[in-house]
């Protein structure tokens, strides 16, 4: 289990690794003397530091007729020089500062030995200034930044310490088991009440359904009855022609009395009067 935790930690941290180059310039390495070491260039614990430039400036002090060589150089670890520049001042006047810059092909700092300004011949060098430019990775600012950083495993083990690493079982946690038991009791009580409510809801739903069905059937029946009486046939009847004209014509303009009719009418009147008078006759 301990190994598993370490492996998991390693994997998580490794997934966060990103490599990026940072650039910097050293201070004046020749400020305290004409020899210097290369250990104090840039931030400490930098993995993959590489030198990509050398810049120097100094003022020669000499007589014009004197021979003088000035060497600015760095030893190579393992022998020889990794950087060397020589200025020949022989027969030349001094007093004028010289400044030079060189581009270096990203040579690893591990190859760079001590640097120096060496004078060969008669003369002096004053106001010397030697500066290195460099680049480096920022992925080892702390040893745990990258599994490939020096001291990574030691840092991880130190962080974990000597404590026993035990797997956490949530089912064995008393607090969690108590909460789960309470939840079961509550669920049983609530289930009975829920059954009653469900049955009532079902029955009420059936009643509602029957009632709704009756109402619906009544409505359909009434609709069928009223639909049988078609009123349209009455609404659509029309009279032909629309007008009845006068057709009686009187000849001569004289309309004589109808004697027969008068006699018949009178006879009818007499009979009518007699019939009316009879109601006043005393009963026998």
């Amino acid at each position: 289990m301990r190994l598993a935790v370490i492996a998991l930690t390693t994997a998580l941290m490794a997934s966060q690794v990103h490599s990026e180059y940072l650039y910097g310039i050293s201070g004046n390495m020749a400020g305290a003397g004409h020899t210097w070491g290369m250990n104090n260039i840039g931030p400490s614990n930098q993995r993959g530091m590489r030198i990509n430039g050398v810049f120097y400036q100094y003022t020669p002090v000499k007589n014009t007729e004197d021979d003088m060589l000035v060497h600015v150089r760095n030893k190579r670890v393992g022998g020889g020089y990794i950087f060397s520049s020589t200025d020949d001042w022989s027969g030349l006047p001094g007093g004028i500062p010289i400044t030079k810059g060189f581009t270096i092909d990203n040579l690893p700092i591990e190859l760079w030995g001590d640097g120096s300004i060496d004078v060969e011949g008669n003369g002096l060098v004053t106001d010397a200034n030697v500066v290195y430019s460099y680049k480096y990775n920022n992925d080892c600012l702390t040893p745990m930044s990258d599994p490939s950083c020096p001291g990574y495993m030691d840092a991880v083990l130190s962080m974990l310490g000597n404590a026993e690493v035990e797997a956490y079982d949530p089912m064995g946690d008393e607090n969690i088991s108590d909460v789960m038991d309470e939840k079961v009791d509550l669920e049983e009580e609530s289930e009975e009440e829920e059954d009653k409510e469900i049955l009532e809801n079902i029955l009420s739903s059936v009643d509602d359904s029957v009632l709704s069905a009756n109402v619906l059937s009544q409505n359909l029946l009434m609709f069928a009855l009223t639909n049988a009486v078609t009123m349209n046939t009455y609404y659509d009847k029309k009279l032909a022609g629309g007008t009845y004209k006068e057709t009686v014509v009187l000849d001569g303009g004289n309309l004589p009395d109808n004697k027969k009719g008068a006699r018949a009418g009178l006879a009818q009147q007499l009979l009518h009067t007699k019939m009316v008078s009879m109601q006043y006759d005393p009963k026998e």
Partner: protein, 165 residues
């Protein structure tokens, strides 16, 4: 063979004559680059004097020549003889100026200073070595003997030229 020759001669006058103009282009990169390294500032040590000397509270202007071709150019640096801008002046101004090599990128350039030629306010350097050379110029202006310069802003120009041999 004869027939072939005759045919060729007959066809020759009928070949149309085409003309084509082909351009030639080229790019010449400068091999002498002049850059202002430091802008100068006048100090005012006396009411009647303006000077770029550091001892007078001024800043010496510095110009850099970058030459990539040895022994091909001459550097000419001319110190000012008048203000390019200033308050209205009613009296004459006496100018003095010098130019010197202030820094080099090669030991051999240290001989430039001894070999320089000065005429008037102009100093000429023979750029015999490829590399960078810094020239500094001092300029001093004295107004009307002992008159005070009117208050205001004063500007003067140092002219640096690179002339092919």
């Amino acid at each position: 063979m004869k027939k072939l020759l005759i045919v060729s001669l007959l066809l020759a006058p009928h070949i149309p004559a085409f003309a084509e103009e082909t351009p030639i282009s080229g790019l010449v990169q400068t091999r002498c680059l002049i850059t202002t390294d430091t802008n100068g500032v006048f100090g005012n040590p006396l009411p009647s004097k303006l000077s770029t000397a550091s001892a007078d509270g001024g800043v010496v202007p510095i110009v850099r020549y970058d030459v990539t071709l040895a022994d091909a150019y001459v550097a000419k640096v001319t110190t000012p003889t008048a203000f390019s801008s200033s308050p209205s002046l009613t009296d004459s101004v006496a100018w003095t100026g010098t130019t010197a090599v202030s820094k080099t990128s090669d030991a051999g350039m240290s001989g430039y200073e001894a070999a320089k030629v000065t005429y008037g306010y102009t100093t000429q350097f023979d750029l015999t070595i490829a590399g960078s050379t810094w020239f500094s110029s001092t300029a001093t202006a004295v107004y009307g003997g002992t008159k005070s310069f009117p208050g205001g802003s004063y500007t003067a120009i140092v002219v640096a030229e690179c002339i092919a041999k």
